[in-house]
């Protein structure tokens, strides 16, 4: 591989690696903005990954897989918001319950449906999209034609989330619930409703992120395939200052180191050391760079009606 091709490879795999991260970080952003701690992302993502494969397997269409992923991502997020908002459970515990539940149910499902441990059968998945119009453009054409539908979906969703959160009344109300639930309640906003909406939509997004892994990057479910991306999303979310566009930039940053590690294959620098870089950098930024009041002030706060 010459240098030019290597750069193109790094750029296209950066995007490919960061797409699931973008989606699950958007999920985290939406949850935190509505005042819900985003600890259940890992579980919702696992649910999306495994049920996405199941939907695709049962119907033979990857689109039904996406539908399954979104619906089951939301259903698992329901456990989180139900325990945390309705029964005032500490959000760490309710979030971890979702993670435990999903990571227990996924292998059980694989066992029941495909009759073996660890991985599912191959199912219909999304192919890379070849766009004839961009093929002619040097570099960009090559990079874009390596991507699946999830790449475009994640960009559209990030833009939509920015639009809704910062340019509409609904978004303003949702952010107010996240910042100060008591004040929001005083002016007649249904705090519980908005928290449910924020978390359920967030769960749907995380489920989509799981599908981006299992039927976007691959065509099967492998146990442990999310590899802690739900936790990484929490970190990227703080790094991107709880902003949808920050989620995109932060995910690309983490994806970049992922793809560097693939290029070097541990030849120049051990891949683990390379993979440590984004965490190290984020640790510095989160500790020394951000102002103290950056997360929504009403995070995990209840109001009593």
């Amino acid at each position: 591989m010459d240098d030019f091709n290597r750069i193109i490879f790094i750029m296209s795999s950066t995007i490919r690696m960061s797409v699931p991260l973008i989606l699950v970080t958007l999920s985290a952003t939406l949850q935190v903005r509505s005042g819900i701690m985003d600890l259940g992302c890992e579980g919702m993502m696992i649910a999306g990954a495994v049920f996405g494969v199941l939907g695709s397997y049962l119907s033979g269409s990857a689109w039904v897989g996406v539908l399954f992923a979104v619906v089951f991502g939301a259903l698992f997020s329901l456990v989180h918001v139900f325990l945390h908002v309705t029964y005032k459970v500490n959000p760490t515990i309710s979030g971890m319950s979702v993670n435990l539940l999903a990571s227990a149910i996924a292998p059980l499902l694989v066992m029941l449906v495909w009759g073996r441990q660890t991985l599912s059968d191959k199912v219909p998945a999304f192919n890379k999209i070849d766009i004839a119009a961009v093929e002619k453009i040097p570099m960009i054409g090559k990079i874009l034609n390596e991507q699946t539908i999830f790449f475009y979906l994640s960009l559209i969703l990030a833009f939509l989330m920015w639009l809704v959160l910062f340019r509409t009344t609904i978004g303003l109300r949702l952010r107010m619930v996240g910042e100060n639930p008591k004040a929001a309640n005083t002016i007649g906003i249904n705090v519980v409703k908005y928290k449910y909406i924020g978390t359920l939509l967030g769960g749907a997004l995380a489920g989509l992120g799981g599908a981006a892994l299992s039927i976007g990057q691959l065509d099967m479910f492998i146990e442990g395939m999310t590899a802690g991306r739900g936790y990484i999303a929490i970190v990227i979310n703080a790094f991107g200052r709880f902003h949808p566009l920050g989620a995109v930039v932060g995910s690309l940053f983490f994806g970049f180191f992922d793809s560097l590690q693939m290029v070097f294959q541990g030849v120049l620098i051990p891949s683990q050391i390379l993979m440590m870089m984004p965490y190290f950098f984020t640790l510095l930024v989160v500790s020394f760079g951000l102002s103290r009041s950056s997360s929504p002030a009403g995070l995990s706060k209840h109001h009593d009606m």
Binding site: M96, S97, L101, I105, L108, L112, Q272, M276
Partner: protein
């Protein structure tokens, strides 16, 4: 939600007996949900539960195995529980466990001048200190820079797991080993086995002693009083002149040290070396164990034993029945869901109709 509000006076009356009753009923509900899962999967729940009980409680071997499986979770349960009493969330157990394991493995394999019993002691204490220092780093970042401990502890998990993985693949890798693992520890660094040819070591006695000490610390000492005060009402504690920083540092050090000991007990008692990615979520399992015990140190011993029974029973389940072993961790997850929400269980107790509603919801969410 409105329901338990209305019956709040009943709740007050119940509060005393509820401390035991609610977790117990939560546990039963989790077993019922687990049974429903098995029925949906097309197997017999009676057969499954019997296999678990038979495999873990009726034979000495099974009982010993349950205790051995429970020991590391006892440590990580203490790690989460003690921090939670001060309303600190230590999600970094997984990383602290790995660094503790690595430090113990290196000292166990490469330090040969320590006489007799002191070798294993030093290896273990060093593992605890390594975990504790990571805990201190989290509390320092929290106090000095306002960085939230959830985010920093998750980040440190990834950093440490990658770093120990690098060590076990690179500089500290055992020669001629096909997989990434460190050198075997010396015999003088091995924890004494309590039962020959089992995984049960004196680490169990260590964790029991520590749990009792932590319980006494919380209930009998001034420091324990300060910890509880900070946990119950941070503002009042500050106004009352409690040195909050000191309490945070101490708590996070102890919490990290517990997780480090969990790693040490694996290396010095079970594997005899550090194996890359060996833990598979033991650190996170501590959260559920601590919640199940109501964050009481001594309670953690018992709740971890319950999980140990499930884990040991799972092996029998796999050997003697067609029920998939994966189902055991589903039951475990249900236990956490129900035990974590005492108010939910309360409302279930006070209204059977609510129970039907919730079970329906659970079934739907599982598909």
């Amino acid at each position: 939600m409105i329901h338990w509000k209305e019956s709040s006076y009943k709740q007050l009356l119940r509060e005393g007996s509820n401390k035991i009753k609610v977790p117990f009923i939560a546990f039963l509900l989790a077993l019922v949900c687990g049974a429903v899962t098995i029925i949906i999967s097309g197997y017999s729940p009676v057969e499954a539960y019997r296999a678990i009980i038979v495999g873990s409680l009726t034979t000495t071997r099974g009982f010993v195995l349950s205790l051995a499986q429970a020991t590391p979770i006892m440590f990580t349960g203490l790690a989460f529980g003690i921090a939670y009493r001060v309303r600190l969330i230590n999600l970094g157990s997984e990383g602290q466990l790995y660094i503790g394991a690595m430090v113990s493995a290196l000292i166990g394999a490469h330090v040969s001048f320590l006489p007799g019993f002191s070798h294993v002691l030093v290896a273990m204490i060093a593992g605890a200190v390594a975990g504790g220092l990571v805990g201190l780093l989290i509390s320092w970042l929290k106090i000095a820079f306002g960085a939230h401990e959830v985010i920093t502890s998750l980040m440190l998990n990834e950093l440490i797991i990658l770093f120990t993985s690098y060590l076990s693949i690179g500089p500290a890798k055992a020669e001629n080993s096909p997989i990434s693992q460190t050198d075997m520890i010396l015999d003088s660094a091995r924890l004494v086995k309590m039962v020959p040819r089992s995984q049960l070591t004196v680490a169990l006695l260590v964790v029991i002693a520590i749990a009792v000490i932590l319980q006494l610390l919380l209930s009998k000492t001034a420091l324990g009083y300060e910890m509880k005060a900070v946990g119950n009402n941070l503002l009042a504690a500050k106004v009352g002149g409690i040195h909050v920083k000191k309490v945070y540092h101490f708590t996070f050090f102890v919490s990290g040290a517990m997780a480090g000991l969990a790693g040490s007990s694996f290396v010095l008692g079970v594997f005899g070396r550090f194996i890359d990615h060996f833990s598979n979520g033991i650190g996170f399992a501590g959260i559920s164990v601590a919640a199940l015990a109501g964050y009481s140190p001594v309670g953690v011993l018992f709740s971890a034993f319950v999980i140990g029974i499930l884990k040991a029973g799972a092996l029998t389940l796999q050997r003697t029945t067609p029920v998939p072993i994966e189902f055991v961790s589903v039951v475990q997850a249900f236990i956490v869901v129900f035990v974590a929400a005492p108010k939910m269980v309360n409302s279930i107790i006070s209204s059977p109709r609510e129970l039907g509603k919730i079970i329906k919801r659970k079934v739907v969410s599982r598909g």
